[in-house]
């Protein structure tokens, strides 16, 4: 707060008041935004802990009177919840492993070396990452169908890799570019280290925070997918949790199951939120590691 002479045209009180008024309006608006952002989570959580009787009440009850887990039990019965979770976990983990490791190799070469065709390869990867999935959906569907891979883990992993690989490659390229000085490999090479062992023994170990962050994002992308799994899975026991929740919606129509519906949403979101928190930590570490060495 500095008061100056030129405020003669505007008395300092009014200026101060205007500032206070602006801050108040901003604070109120921010509170509104916060309600908009958080209200749905509250509504999901509270609905999932309500009994059937409470969920049917009209107008809705904002604060559960009895804390009940009956919705969670019901959710597990309406759809084969555990099986769907296992399907999602397995396919997302396999996708993460494949796309992160291949992306790390490719991104490293693109980030740290110049070689004929490097820009073209980068452009192809960027283009694939940017263009919406619907433009690849039908051909990949028919290819996987032709290979007999509908309703299979392999089919799903292939489809997931199609979007998570370019994404992981682009983030990792940025990470490899910004995190350590060029001299890092030069020194290693002079010391008689081969290109590949420079990557494997020197770069990879210090890049673990970045790689974990990227792997988390790859996992979340696959875990959250609906578009691909909705077309590739038609048989019950192979479905992923996202498709399961969608089925739930179709059956639920009536409000009676809304609490179980929200319980299944809670159980689907919790793993994602936990993973995201972990990735956030590593992202910060990744950045600071780069800053210290750069």
């Amino acid at each position: 707060m500095s008061m100056r002479m030129q405020s003669a045209t505007m008395p300092w009180q009014s200026r101060r008041m205007r500032r206070a008024a602006t801050s108040l309006i901003a604070a109120l608006f921010m509170a509104g935004v916060l309600v908009f952002v958080l209200m749905p989570f509250y509504w999901m959580l509270k609905s999932s802990f309500q009994t059937n009787k409470e969920i049917l009440a009209m107008p809705p009850i904002w604060f559960p009177r009895t804390f009940s887990l009956e919705a969670y039990e019901k959710a597990m019965k309406v759809i084969p919840f555990t099986r769907y979770i296992v399907n999602s976990l397995f396919t997302a983990m396999a996708t993460t492993l494949i796309s992160t490791s291949l992306a790390a190799m490719g991104a490293y070469a693109l980030a740290r070396y110049r070689f004929p065709g490097d820009t073209l390869i980068l452009v192809v990867v960027m283009f694939t990452q940017l263009i919406p999935a619907i433009t690849r959906l039908f051909p990949i569907y028919f290819t996987l169908k032709g290979l007999g891979l509908l309703n299979s883990y392999q089919g799903l992993i292939i489809a997931y890799t199609s979007f998570s690989l370019p994404y992981a490659a682009l983030i990792l390229r940025g990470y490899f570019q910004g995190s350590y000085p060029l001299e890092l490999e030069e020194a290693a090479l002079i010391d008689g280290c081969g290109y590949f062992s420079a990557f494997l023994r020197i770069v990879l170990p210090i890049s673990i925070p970045g790689i974990i962050a990227v792997a988390t994002f790859a996992f979340l992308g696959a875990w959250n997918d609906f578009l691909w799994s909705s077309i590739l899975l038609t048989r019950g026991e192979m479905k992923t949790i996202q498709v399961g929740i969608r089925d739930f919606m179709g059956e639920f129509g009536a409000v009676q199951r809304a609490n179980a519906f929200m319980a299944s949403c809670v159980m689907t979101t919790v793993p994602a939120v936990i993973l995201f928190r972990i990735a956030q930590k590593y992202m910060v570490q990744g950045i600071s590691a780069g800053a210290i060495k750069g």
Binding site: W43, W62, M105, A109, Y113, F115, V124, T135, L165
Partner: protein
């Protein structure tokens, strides 16, 4: 030495590039191919897939549904990008200030980011149920509303391309997209040196003037990246419009991706679906081309 380096680079890039070509570039070309043949699953056994030139494009252009979806896509992108960037600018400005509880606020704002699109849609479907909507309850008890809003089903009031369901679905996308926009803009704000603002304050620039003449221009690059990414994502957006309304009621929330998906998997007209996808591909591809060119120039990699 150079040869060994190049060999190493190609070996490292090869697996990734092979997969990107097979799972990315080739299917896009196949979609283009599919859009100029007859690919009707009901007739494919008898007639195969004969080349029909631009016939599929002629057919979709003759369908009012296509133009409704086309217009809805543009409106959806405009609403979502406009609102999410405006809101994101505000939230990022607030989070960039020094106050107690800023860390908690930052984490809270991020939560919708990781919420799966299906779950986001599910929560909002539940909150949008006319009879049991907390939103209606609050508005009605405040006396702002006589009858509950039927968020996802009201087709009675339509203002040009805008309608209640369109607003309801767009809000969910805005809700889901806000964290990403905020994080990007916050990073942009933090790269603006403090001295610039201090100098402006000494010169007596008001808050609005500082925003207009310092913040906005300095955020320019981040904003253009953001708007481009959001526009490309918006043109191809599928999940929320499909899950919440199936494009209805009366196609009020139907967008190109949903129409393409329905043409293919509901009506077995993969040719028409491919033609719509081809339009998405060409429009987003054009935007992407400019974006990539700008990016490569910016980093000096091109």
């Amino acid at each position: 030495m150079v040869r060994r380096k190049n060999a190493f680079c190609y070996l490292m890039v090869a697996p990734m590039l092979a997969l990107v070509l097979v799972l990315g570039v080739y299917p896009m070309l196949q979609t283009l191919g599919m859009s100029v043949v007859q690919y009707d699953l009901m007739r494919i056994a008898r007639e195969g897939t004969p080349f029909v030139g631009l016939e599929n494009f002629r057919q979709i252009a003759a369908e009012p549904r296509f133009w409704i979806a086309f217009r809805n896509t543009l409106v959806f992108v405009a609403i979502v990008v406009g609102c999410v960037v405006a809101l994101g600018l505000f939230v990022a400005q607030v989070l960039n200030m020094d106050f107690r509880g800023r860390g908690i606020l930052r984490s809270l704002i991020l939560v919708p980011w990781v919420t799966p699109p299906v779950v986001s849609s599910a929560i909002w479907i539940w909150m949008y149920m006319a009879d049991r909507s907390p939103i209606n309850q609050v508005l009605m008890s405040l006396g702002l509303l006589d009858a509950p809003i039927r968020f996802l089903t009201d087709a009675s009031k339509v203002w040009g391309p805008f309608s209640v369901p369109m607003g309801a679905v767009s809000s969910v996308r805005i809700w889901n997209g806000l964290p990403f926009v905020t994080v990007m803009l916050l990073a942009g704000l933090q790269s603006i040196p403090h001295e610039v603002y201090e100098a402006a304050e000494i010169d007596g620039a008001s808050g609005i003037a500082r925003f207009r003449y310092i913040t906005l221009p300095m955020l320019g690059p981040v904003l253009s990246v953001l708007v481009t990414l959001l526009a490309i994502g918006g043109i191809g957006h599928f999940e929320m419009n499909y899950i919440m309304t199936l494009g209805g009621p009366n196609d009020l929330t139907n967008v190109l991706s949903v129409l393409a998906y329905q043409s293919a998997f509901t009506f077995y007209r993969f040719d028409l679906g491919a033609a719509i996808s081809a339009i998405i591909l060409l429009s987003t591809g054009t935007v992407a081309a400019f974006y990539i060119r700008a990016q490569l120039r910016g980093t000096g990699a091109g």
